[in-house]
């Protein structure tokens, strides 16, 4: 078990290191003159050569690549991704400032998405009416088909401009959170619901379900007592994908609703080619992803005795 945990932690650390290295290659090595990226493309030609050299020296671009890499890696290891080109503030500070707002949005959306996913899967499994089942099963694929920005815009149009129930922009109170939450939750719920529907259907056909029916269990008892737990476990395996959807969705949701957050920070950083901020965000996201997968890997054996047994055997 210890060996297993060590292996998984090692993998997580590797992913974070590799994400740093890839972004370093993409952002600092690939561009011929990385320093050019620091200036507004329109003004690039008007920048005097000595100013460019000065800026390049400030950012360490004049040093050999390997040295730059090790220097940045060393700082990144202690959470220092340098300072933002635009604002001149430390990247970590900028990130931490907007993080709470994004966290509230994504955690709320995740909860809502999980509820929606389970509701669809449970109803589709419990019903014996084919038409209702088909309808429910087609909902998730519709949810992932509608573009997030489109969904946000329609919600804005109907509930904000049309009915005036919720404010359209900004970050003030719970009312301003409702529309972004729904906008983000719907596309995130799609894959969760799809997986759950499939896994509930699969488990309903399993041999032990027949045994349970033969014991005298009713359909409801079988779903609650047997199928629910076994079918829910696989949902953990897409925790990583769900996280990715949340991040991607929050970039767009925050843009549509003009909310501050990591998504907006990302967009701003990309627009202004604020390389240190971009790298900081990518590594932060990859680290969160690795952490989530690590947690899933570590709690999965606690939920599945078969896996637990095989792990115990492997390390004894």
């Amino acid at each position: 078990m210890l060996h297993y945990a060590a292996l998984k932690i090692g993998r997580a650390l590797f992913v974070i290191w590799a994400a740093f290295t890839i972004t370093f290659l993409l952002l600092f090595v690939l561009p011929a003159e990385p320093v050019d990226l620091l200036f507004d493309p329109a003004e690039l030609n008007t920048i005097p050569e000595d100013v460019r050299a000065q800026v390049a020296a400030n950012y360490g671009f004049d040093k050999p690549l390997l040295l730059q890499y090790l220097d940045r890696l060393g700082h990144a290891a202690v959470g220092d991704f340098g300072t933002s080109v635009q604002s001149g503030r430390p990247v970590t500070q900028a990130l931490l400032e907007v993080l709470p707002s994004t966290l509230i949005l994504s955690v709320g959306a995740l909860l809502l998405a999980v509820v929606i996913g389970f509701a669809i899967a449970l109803l589709a499994t419990a019903t014996r009416r084919p038409w209702l089942r088909n309808l429910l099963e087609s909902l998730p694929s519709a949810a992932v088909s509608v573009p997030v920005f489109m969904f946000g815009i329609v919600l804005l149009q109907v509930f904000s401009f049309g009915l005036g129930w919720f404010p359209s922009f900004g970050d003030g109170g719970w009312q301003s959170l409702v529309l972004p939450l729904v906008t983000l939750a719907i596309p995130v719920s799609g894959p969760i619901a799809q997986l759950l529907v499939r896994s509930f259907t699969g488990e309903m056909g399993a041999g032990y379900v027949v045994t349970s029916f033969a014991k005298g269990a009713t359909r409801g008892q079988v779903i609650v007592g047997d199928v629910f737990r076994n079918a829910s476990l696989p949902a953990l395996t897409i925790a990583g994908i769900t996280f990715g959807n949340l991040i991607a969705g929050s970039v767009i949701t925050e843009t549509v609703f003009a909310r501050p957050g990591v998504g907006r920070l990302t967009q701003g950083a990309i627009n202004t080619l604020d390389i240190p901020v971009v790298q900081g965000i990518v590594v932060f996201v990859a680290a969160s992803f690795a952490l989530i997968n690590l947690i899933v890997d570590l709690i999965y054996p606690l939920l599945d005795p078969r896996l637990r047994a095989s792990l115990a055997a492997r390390t004894s």
Binding site: P130, G216, T218, D304
Partner: protein, 566 residues
């Protein structure tokens, strides 16, 4: 069981107590079940079946795959899938008609009045729940008055003990994956008994188990029947099992019961052709080797030894709940196959027989030891050299549903080895050879352009044999090549193998778990257990005067021996 069986039905969902004495426990009358076919049409799976089970009686329902026996069971338990419907007839338990009952009402009959033992113990227990919990559920669902949790535990333990699990307390706290197949099946019997039913429906309860375990489980069911006075409906594809265990047998074919009667009557005087064919095909009812079909021109096989193995060893690392352990898949095994004969390797699961076959065929490597095909040593060859050996030695897999590429037509499948070795030059010559091979396995040219999805299991296995014959090998290794097939098909394939051997002078290495089949086809036999050889010799010697206890146990466990000489 402390309680008297007659005291059980009180308050049960329906079956009235007074009726229990006079009416059959289960009465199926003119039952019809349809499956939804394409569009709005229905195709019948069970067509007007009548059957009854009386108290203290074992009735066997025998049928091959597709006969509708499983559908019949699902129908009588009210567990039909959504795509099926009962379109006629009735099902009654102790005279109470339960046809068309709603799920919630039927749930009170299941477990309480009728217990069910499923086919595959490995998938029929919830993998994430402890055995005890699963038995307790069966107790709790079926109790009449709410009991305390301690009473539940006591009842569950008692049920486990009744099912023959002596160490019930330990099993109670274990997960399914910690038990052997036989123990899982006993746990499932415990679950079936927990509701104190009057009748048990057992759907192929032992077909996933080894013969020796199968025997013990079936013995136990027999004991339960006598002790508890319950009725048993035993569904099986194995006529031998039915002959051994049942009082009455119903033979099912294409959704209908074609024969029904007491065992002795059925053997002495089978009324339907199908029963006669099944009886003829049952390996246990055969004495001695199959004779080649008349009119063949035998080819004298070469002299000497075609396959030899010396001191083959192979270890696997096993990860189990008990910790990492090394398993001796093969522990210094010798084998000698004489030219033109069939050498059977027989044993139960885990005996190492398939590992031996894989090493001989070059699919796996041995840790130590040597194998020869003809004069060539095969245990130390490169990929390329091994390919040359394939001309002399071919392999037929157990499962014809997975061993043929689903995208290939029959013609392409048979032509594959010919292409690989560029044996035939030109398309015409290639197709001539393919047709010749197809005829050799008794299939005509109309099969050439079919894909495997359009073939039955027996036809697929014929294609696999034709493909193995393509390069004119001297040896064919058959790994459980007939065990996935229905008995009647199995008999045809075995006859084909015997005929081909006679005509072509082939040698077979025939791996099987079924001693009945060994007697029909083999000249020599090697009995394996736990990676070692228990006994070897000619079939005559081993069958008539087995030297080891294990061989005797295996021979004794062959189903159908009880009436083999009738």
């Amino acid at each position: 069981m402390s309680e008297q069986p007659t005291a059980r039905a009180e308050g049960a969902a329906v079956p009235a107590e007074d009726a229990a004495g006079t009416k059959p426990l289960l009465q199926i009358a003119e039952l019809r079940i349809d499956y939804r076919a394409q569009g709005r049409s229905w195709s019948p799976a069970v067509r007007g079946v009548s059957l009854h089970v009386d108290p203290g009686e074992t009735v066997a329902l025998v049928g091959e795959s597709g006969s509708g026996k499983t559908t019949l069971v699902q129908g009588s338990l009210g567990l039909l899938p959504a795509s099926a419907r009962v379109s006629g007839g009735s099902i009654s338990y102790s005279g109470v008609d339960v046809t068309g009952w709603r799920d919630a009402r039927m749930a009170r009959v299941r477990g309480n009045y009728v217990g069910f033992i499923p086919q595959d113990p490995n998938t029929s227990l919830n993998p994430v729940k402890k055995i005890g919990q699963q038995v307790i559920e069966a107790v709790a669902f079926n109790e009449r008055t709410a009991a305390s949790s301690q009473e539940h535990i006591d009842a569950a333990l008692e049920s486990l003990r009744t099912a023959g699990l002596a160490n019930a307390e330990r099993v109670f706290h274990q997960y399914p994956h910690e038990l052997s197949g036989g123990m899982k099946q006993r746990a499932l019997i415990a679950i079936a008994l927990a509701g104190k039913p009057k009748i048990i429906v057992a759907d192929e309860p032992t077909s996933a188990l080894d013969v020796t375990v199968q025997r013990v489980i079936l013995d136990h069911l027999e004991t339960l029947r006598t002790e508890l006075g319950i009725g048993i409906l035993l569904i099986t594809h194995d006529l031998g099992v039915a002959l051994d265990r049942a009082d009455r047998i119903a033979v099912m074919q294409r959704g209908e019961i074609v024969e029904h009667g007491p065992v002795r009557e059925l053997i002495a005087n089978p009324s339907s052709d199908y029963t006669r064919r099944l009886l003829a095909a049952a390996p246990s009812r055969h004495q001695g080797r199959l004779a080649p079909s008349p009119g063949l021109q035998p080819r004298t096989p070469g002299e000497g030894i075609v396959v030899r193995a010396e001191q083959l060893r192979k270890q696997y690392t096993l990860r189990s709940a008990g910790g990492r352990s090394l398993v001796n898949a093969l522990d210094g095994v010798d084998l000698v196959v004489r030219a033109g004969t069939t050498h059977a390797i027989v044993g139960e699961s885990g005996a190492g027989k398939s590992t031996l076959a894989s090493i001989i065929a070059g699919f796996a490597t041995a840790d130590s030891g040597t194998a020869w095909v003809g004069e060539r040593e095969t245990t130390s060859l490169s990929h390329r050299e091994l390919r040359e050996v394939r001309r002399d030695l071919q392999f037929v897999f157990q499962n014809p549903y997975t061993s043929l590429d689903p995208r290939f037509t029959v013609a392409k499948l048979i032509a594959e080895p010919l292409r690989a070795f560029r044996v035939a030059t030109g398309r015409a010559e290639l197709m001539t050879r393919v047709r010749e091979l197809l005829r050799a396995v008794a299939l005509d040219d109309s099969y050439l352009q079919r894909t495997t999805a359009q073939l039955s299991g027996g036809q697929r296995q014929r294609i696999a044999i034709a493909r193995a014959l393509a390069l004119n090998p001297r040896v064919i290794v058959l790994d459980e090549a007939v065990s996935a097939l229905d008995v009647s098909v199995q008999a045809q394939i075995l006859q084909l193998l015997v005929d081909l051997q006679t005509e072509l002078g082939l040698s077979y290495v025939f791996v099987t778990h079924d001693l009945g089949v060994v007697r029909m086809i083999a000249d020599d036999v090697t009995v394996m257990r736990d990676g070692g050889i228990v006994e070897h010799g000619t079939v005559q010697d081993v069958f008539l005067s087995p030297q080891s206890d294990y061989t005797r146990a295996l021979l004794g466990a062959i189903p159908g021996t009880r009436f083999a000489t009738v």
